[in-house]
Symmetry: C2
């Protein structure tokens, strides 16, 4: 049975994506151009992401704070690279409280400026360090082309901002948070990721180094899915953040920032979704199990209630669908919504002492004895689903990863069946620009584990290579 509201994934991936976003009630376009409404099913996923990441941030000693949403232009202008990077996408408040503002203010596109300004007036001594702050907030970047979750003018995110006594500590924090993201993607979202350092051209405006979490969508396109930045002392110098160090001298602290956004919801959809809609990994799913009684029957309803109660008591996020709709309609609806496990309870099965578990990822049905320990069965099945979803994505990544030494090879791959292309590069941004002519292919990150050998040549210009880079068609 195929869901008629959803264009087949292999027929038109972009349309398939929009159809799933709408059919699963994740988000909708709003009458505010370029902005989305995040609907209940989408927002519940964001809440799961927030709660899991937030607990991990706190476990590592971070604290949440909240900075103003508007940034006066003069404050932005203190760090030249940042303002240059974000000015084209800025949204400006110029009038408020019934009059023109003396100084216009930008809706935050990111909050380095505000954190730095706060640090400058609060940091005193090395005893105050490290300062490990994070905020959950909305930001605006005025994009021309928008797509729900992937690129919208407003999005939700978390931005960590930390200050450290030494360069070493700040570098450690940058990589630690990159690793937090990697683990979250792999263990919770079931998305295998590529992590590494961005090239100069692709790094964040104002950062000394940007590390990225990249994921590969079903159609072979790359999605930058999270970033962790090492700022060195650049912002400290621009915003005059100083502290008295252990030698009793004034010194500049070392800074990082790191963030992930509602874009992760887009990644989950495009990595795991299928022709029947959304597929959610069990650890992320706000609702993990739906119990569906089939037919009107007292025994069936009693069993459904018993199963539901047992699952809930065990902390499994389960619900039952006792509505009047037909079983087929219910099955399709819960499949579109990506509920990982469906438990079907029917009279005929019960008479044979059976109930049916249906897993969303493979759509297999499994009969289990009606008297079996349903919590154990469901937990085991959810672990299997979680693992299988990761393995399927990992296998796809491997199949879509190519080693190339010529531009024509890359051109052919990116045009027909794109993916990650590993190829050497001389380090010249001009060669990155040239690569971009191939369907917008960009460097995803530098493979820092690769040691360049004599004879390794830049795939673009043929000069001696400095790096091995992973290239991809960008979302």
């Amino acid at each position: 049975m195929k869901n008629k509201a959803i264009t087949p994934r292999d027929e038109d991936f972009a349309k398939w994506y929009s159809d799933v976003v709408r059919a699963a009630h994740l988000a909708d376009y709003s009458n505010v151009k370029g902005f989305m409404v995040i609907e209940p099913n989408g927002y519940a996923i964001w809440e799961m992401m927030q709660s899991i990441l937030d607990a991990e941030f706190k476990r590592l000693g971070h604290q949440n704070v909240y900075m103003p949403v508007l940034i006066p232009e003069s404050l932005l202008n203190k760090e030249a690279e940042l303002i240059e990077g974000f000015a084209p996408e800025g949204a400006w408040v110029t009038r408020a409280g019934g009059k023109e503002l003396e100084e216009r203010m930008m809706f935050r596109p990111t909050s380095e400026t505000l954190f730095s300004d706060y640090y400058a007036s609060h940091l005193q001594s090395y005893r105050d360090l490290p300062l490990l702050y994070n905020q959950w907030a909305n930001v605006i970047r005025w994009e021309k082309e928008t797509k729900p979750f992937l690129r919208t003018r407003e999005f939700l995110w978390q931005e960590g901002h930390t200050l450290h006594e030494t360069e070493e500590e700040a570098r450690k924090e940058t990589l630690q948070m990159l690793d937090v993201y990697k683990k979250f993607f792999e263990e919770v979202l079931a998305i295998p990721v590529l992590t590494g350092r961005k090239t100069e051209k692709e790094k964040f405006a104002g950062a000394e180094e940007t590390y990225t979490v990249e994921s590969l969508m079903y159609n072979g396109f790359s999605l930058q899915s999270g970033t962790s930045h090492f700022f060195g002392q650049k912002f400290a110098k621009a915003y005059d953040i100083k502290f008295v160090n252990r030698e009793n001298k004034l010194d500049y602290p070392w800074q990082t920032s790191w963030g992930v956004t509602t874009r992760m919801i887009g990644a989950v959809i495009m990595v795991h979704g299928d022709d029947n809609g959304l597929v959610l990994p069990p650890r992320l799913a706000p609702r993990q199990v739906v119990v569906v009684p089939i037919g009107k029957d007292e025994e069936v309803n009693a069993k459904a209630n018993e199963v539901l109660a047992a699952l809930k008591a065990a902390g499994i996020r389960a619900f039952a669908d006792f509505s009047e709709k037909s079983p087929g309609f219910k099955f399709a609806e819960h499949e579109v919504n990506g509920i990982p496990v469906r438990i079907e309870i029917g009279k005929r099965d019960l008479d044979q002492g059976l109930i049916t578990l249906a897993r969303r990822d493979t759509r297999e049905k499994i009969n289990v004895p009606a008297g079996s320990d349903i919590v154990t069965e469901v937990n085991a099945l959810m672990e299997q689903i979680q693992k299988n979803m990761f393995e399927v994505a990992k296998k796809r990544n491997a199949e879509k990863t190519y080693e190339c030494t010529t531009l024509s090879e890359i051109e052919k791959i990116m045009s027909n069946n794109p993916g990650y292309v590993r190829a050497c590069w001389c380090g010249d941004p001009a060669c990155e620009l040239k690569m971009k002519e191939i369907r917008g292919t960009k460097s995803r990150c530098i493979d820092e584990t690769y040691k360049v050998k004599a004879g390794d040549k830049c795939v673009v210009c043929g000069k001696p290579a400095k790096y091995k880079v992973v290239w991809g068609v960008q979302y």
Copy 2:
């Protein structure tokens, strides 16, 4: 011992408030005029408020969503009263993406417009009703005079927006959510509140009826602390929200909205705080218990760790302070921060088989046997503190509540020792304006339990009364 960073509460209440906000690291002014930075201790309180309220909203069937932060002017203009009410405080984005916008957009001061616009394009049938949505968001209202938490240009809040099939259901929802707020204030924040309907003059722009949660601060000033609105079909008609009803005819649904904000943090400070800083009720406190070992001693440290582990295992939000600071310094710091219970563990006490519990609200110290069940002791003490804080506030409210029949009485009370003044009113807004001349006194709400008797006269004009109103000096 008195905290030198804090002005005595009875000497200068406004300065005392600012001092507590700063000393307890709740918030600070930022270099963005009229905006605050919510610091870790303040934000942690907001997170507790969010988690408790959010769980209750969800238990009652509400779902979280997220609407765009900017509202195009034409969309705002559809409901005349709302735009009139909020236009003077609006902040306008006029330029974005490198050019002037064709239509300016207001930073949301509240989101009735966006929810209504969304409902208009999504609601179809009575089967879709009720729609019970809520969002946690930032809003901007460009205030002239600002004060952290109480009145800032940006604040954080939740706004519930619901649609119902019948008037009765919508009215029930309005009062149900008012009751959710009342219970939250009384049972979690330990703040006794007054609830009731606002007068025409004081109600929300665009609402048919506004119900309010009012709380009385230590200095006798009134704080509007939460509101729940019944909109009737006003927005439905303005935004053309229609549904097919049970008679298969097109009909307008009935609407509500309700919200509380970071202002609640200000209420907690001003109801419970004292000359030593913040005092948090245990159910709200992000950190309920601090364990302070006194002196460097192995046995003391072992006992401190044992107590901490026992408390944490029981789900009590406890932490220990093993820092190098002196005990007196630690005591003062944890008192400023309002930690409800401090457990002091010292060598001399331990040798006598004792440990000390210090409660923040009364600052009493209680010795308990070192071998006693610390979880039971602490839980019992926290219940006592929670109850006592509520009782103290309730007693103060009773003492500061007056029945008046003449304006001169009211003038005297409000000038010297303000509070709630209960007095009859004819229903004429002109009399409310006249009352405002007395130190800005406004009607807090109508006492709907009071039946007006023959001979009851308006305290302002002397004409026959229509209502008994509770009046107060407004924050």
